[in-house]
Amino acid sequence: MNINPSTAFRDKCAIVGIGNSRLGKVPGVSSLDLLVEAMVNALDDAGLKTSDIDGLICRGPDDAYGHHQLIGARLGINANISTTMDNGGASQILSIAMAVMAIEAGLATTVLCGFGRDAWSRTHVTEEARVRNETRPASQRPREFGPEYGYFGAVAAHAFGAQRHMHLYGTTRDHFAEIAIAFREHALRNPQAQMKKPLTKADYDAARLIVAPFGLFDCSLRSDAAGAVIVTKKDRAKDLKQPPVPIKGFGSFNNLRGWFMDDNMVVTAAKKSGETAYKMAGLGPQDVDTAQLYDCFTYMVLTQLEDYGFCKKGEGGEFVASGALKLGGRLPTNTSGGQLSESHCEGMLQIVEGARQMRHTYGAERQVKDAEIALISGHGGNQVCHSTLILGRA
């Protein structure tokens, strides 16, 4: 069905506060406390107090029931609108979309959004946890049609898409390496990134295979990490501490039939989510100066570059091999190092980085020069949920 995304939301709201927690290995701090840390940093950044917040939309590990209530209690916040999101890694952008809709509907004025997880701590507390490398609670894991075949984890699920793409379009692991190496170069310019050492093609090739076609460096990090942003009306934002980052458009799509159905593993939900966001913003891929894409695995970046129209379907390999993703390239992407090399926070740090780029926060070594438009993506659930956010220059 054709939808008609409203242009009435364009540039009405803005991100006015940005924060993140300590990233990487933060043992002994719960996912909730990491998120509180990020949220307090976002409030300080905006020059706002908890009493200014009347909306709270957030998410944490899947076993934290009523997550928004736990966070509200810790921050001492009551809210006109508050809920926990359930759209996997697409939740974080969707929470910002919901914030805009709530503000425009008059349900709230100032909405705090965020996500926090303790995935490093969770997968390293015991040897068994390390072997299984599984962040989902046991009760939510499949009981059939998977474990009996030795099928476990998100690496394999995404690797199916990578293999199919390689078959259809001649994409290679050399292409995936370009993505991992570009983001590692960016991470080296980011003092808070988990990965501190350069990554060479030889390192990539020598690394052990995890679930082929993915090797170690195709896979994102396990991180304890949280990020938060504050959304309010753009006109109200004028009185705050930081220049407002305008929200120009957003989109969402969900291939609910499943990752294994149709062609969803090679033409992802990013395509329709992106079309919606472009329409709302009145922009197209040619207008985007920097992309912050959900990089749980290298291949997901490659397919999203195609799905968002930065190149044609099947040409993602050539696009990344051209050096386009690097700072100074045609489309500097994941300028923080992304989830592959900065820290994995289920897309929340992509939002944080996109907003900071739009504020022109950084020195020349990391700032995308003259950037006016940032496109940010969220991907998750069981690989089928997707959301898109387009921000303008502050």
Binding site: R132, N133, E134, E148, G150, A156, A212
Partner: protein, 141 residues
């Protein structure tokens, strides 16, 4: 069961059927591959559910299928995520598209992992994994 068959070796997970999937596993135990077929629109579907995802009809039968299909995509596990698979790596997990349409997650056996290809023709075989439990796997046709 003799004492010799009891060991501390980690066991591979045995499928734990839901009420919806029980007929699938009962058929598999008899080395038959059955999936649901809609009596309204005629299409097959998998995984099991109580209404046809093509037309929402609740009228279906468990139809035996040809057991023939092709590899839609596949992955090769090198990492051991479960101790029972320690001696199995590298092994192939594939998504097989049956001739009748549905796609099944499975293993490809009887071929070296680096020789498996997308679109390769495969056929079903059954591996008995416990008393009264068999798991369908696929091998080159």
């Amino acid at each position: 069961m003799s004492d010799a068959s009891i060991s501390d070796k980690p066991q591979k997970p045995i499928p734990r059927p839901s009420p919806e999937s029980a007929p699938y596993w009962e058929a598999a135990a008899q080395h038959k591959l059955r999936v649901q077929k809609c009596n309204a629109c005629g299409q097959h579907w998998f995984p099991p559910s109580q209404r046809c995802p093509h037309c929402t009809a609740a009228d279906f039968s468990w139809a035996e299928v040809s057991g023939r299909g092709k590899v839609f995509s596949f992955v090769v596990f090198h990492r051991v995520y479960h101790p029972a698979f320690e001696g199995e790596v590298p092994y192939v997990v594939a998504l097989v598209e049956l001739a009748e349409g549905p796609r099944l997650l499975t293993n490809i056996v009887g071929i070296a992992p680096d020789e498996v290809r997308c679109e390769m023709a495969v056929k079903v075989l059954f591996e008995d994994v416990a008393a009264g439990v068999a798991v369908p796997k696929f091998t080159p046709a």
